[in-house]
């Protein structure tokens, strides 16, 4: 019987097989968006839990991996929103002296899959990616970190290839501008 059909019957072995087959794909996408290993693990688990619970709604109109990508991206974005809310709340609390812990920005993120000679440059690029609008960031991560084609990104984000092209073009232009400002500021100091 098909793996997805078995998963719909809540078969444990099928679920294990699904997790083992797609865990790297889900985790790598999550870590690309979240830039934090713990958060990425959390989102990976949430993605598979969601997939297990709502597999009945998977009609097979797209590839299973595309469906998993969609859940991952949506969970990762939710995670970012929750974290921002918490950060804002902690900041407000610190203003009123209710929270002694200072609001600290996370340290530079080093993706484990980047080659040693590119580590520093990639960390700067990841930092710049944090300032992109969510859609541009998602498209850029799917393209650069996961290596998806424009067609595949379009399927995940439910947009046309030309829209993906435009999104990536804008993302690259924005990144170049952010990087330019960053290096000009460094040179001044």
């Amino acid at each position: 019987m098909d793996l997805i059909e078995l998963l719909k019957k809540k078969d444990r072995a099928a679920f294990k097989s699904v997790v083992e087959t797609w865990q790297d794909m889900v985790y790598n996408t999550a870590i690309g968006i979240l830039q934090n290993a713990e958060d990425a693990e959390d989102v990976t688990q949430e993605t598979f839990m969601q997939a297990f619970e709502s597999v009945a709604s998977f009609k097979g109109e797209s590839k299973f991996s595309t469906w998993l990508y969609r859940i991952t991206v949506s969970k990762a974005m939710d995670h970012i929103r929750k974290k921002k809310r918490k950060k804002r709340f902690a900041f407000i609390q610190s203003l009123y002296g209710k929270n002694d812990q200072p609001v600290i920005d996370p340290p530079d993120f080093f993706h484990p899959g980047v080659s040693m000679e590119n580590k520093e440059n990639a960390a700067v690029l990841f930092k710049a990616m944090e300032r992109l609008p969510p859609n541009q960031k998602t498209a850029f991560v799917l393209n650069k970190v996961e290596g998806l084609s424009y067609i595949e990104i379009g399927e995940v984000m439910k947009i046309t290839d030309s829209a993906v092209d435009a999104l990536l073009h804008r993302a690259k232009a924005n990144l170049k501008k952010i990087l330019k400002d960053y290096y000009i500021a460094i040179n001044r100091n």
């Binding site: 997790v19 693990e41 590119n118 440059n121 990639a122 990087l179």
Partner: protein, 110 residues
């Protein structure tokens, strides 16, 4: 010259993800996932996930709005009654025609 250097640096940074390989999670992800799913099976998590459903939230909002509307309508109609009974009540208040004492209650007829 400086611009050239800057553009070269930016290009290097933009290309720094070329040839990136996939990051992998820590081993035994499935075991941790199963443990988490087991933990979340308790009644409280079920209740909270039920309450967090958009349908339930929408139903709650509708319920609150209906109760509010009912209270407003009822207070509106009771205000009319008070307005109609206004002169009698005002007289009763001013001249203390109503007496509430223990004696009255004890002598109340069944």
């Amino acid at each position: 010259m400086e611009d050239e250097f800057l553009n070269k640096k930016i290009d290097d940074v933009m290309q720094s993800m070329d040839g990136i390989t996939r990051a992998t999670p820590r081993p035994f992800l499935f075991t941790r996932l199963e443990a988490r799913m087991q933990n979340e099976k308790n009644i409280w998590s079920k209740l909270s996930s039920f309450a967090a459903r958009p349908v339930v939230a929408f139903a709650c909002i509708c319920f609150v709005l209906i109760v509010n509307a009912m209270v407003i309508l009822m207070s509106g109609s009771s205000r009319n009654t008070i307005t109609q009974q206004g002169p009698e009540l005002a007289t009763a208040d001013e001249y203390s025609q109503v007496s509430y004492n223990l004696y009255d209650f004890e002598n109340a007829k069944p």
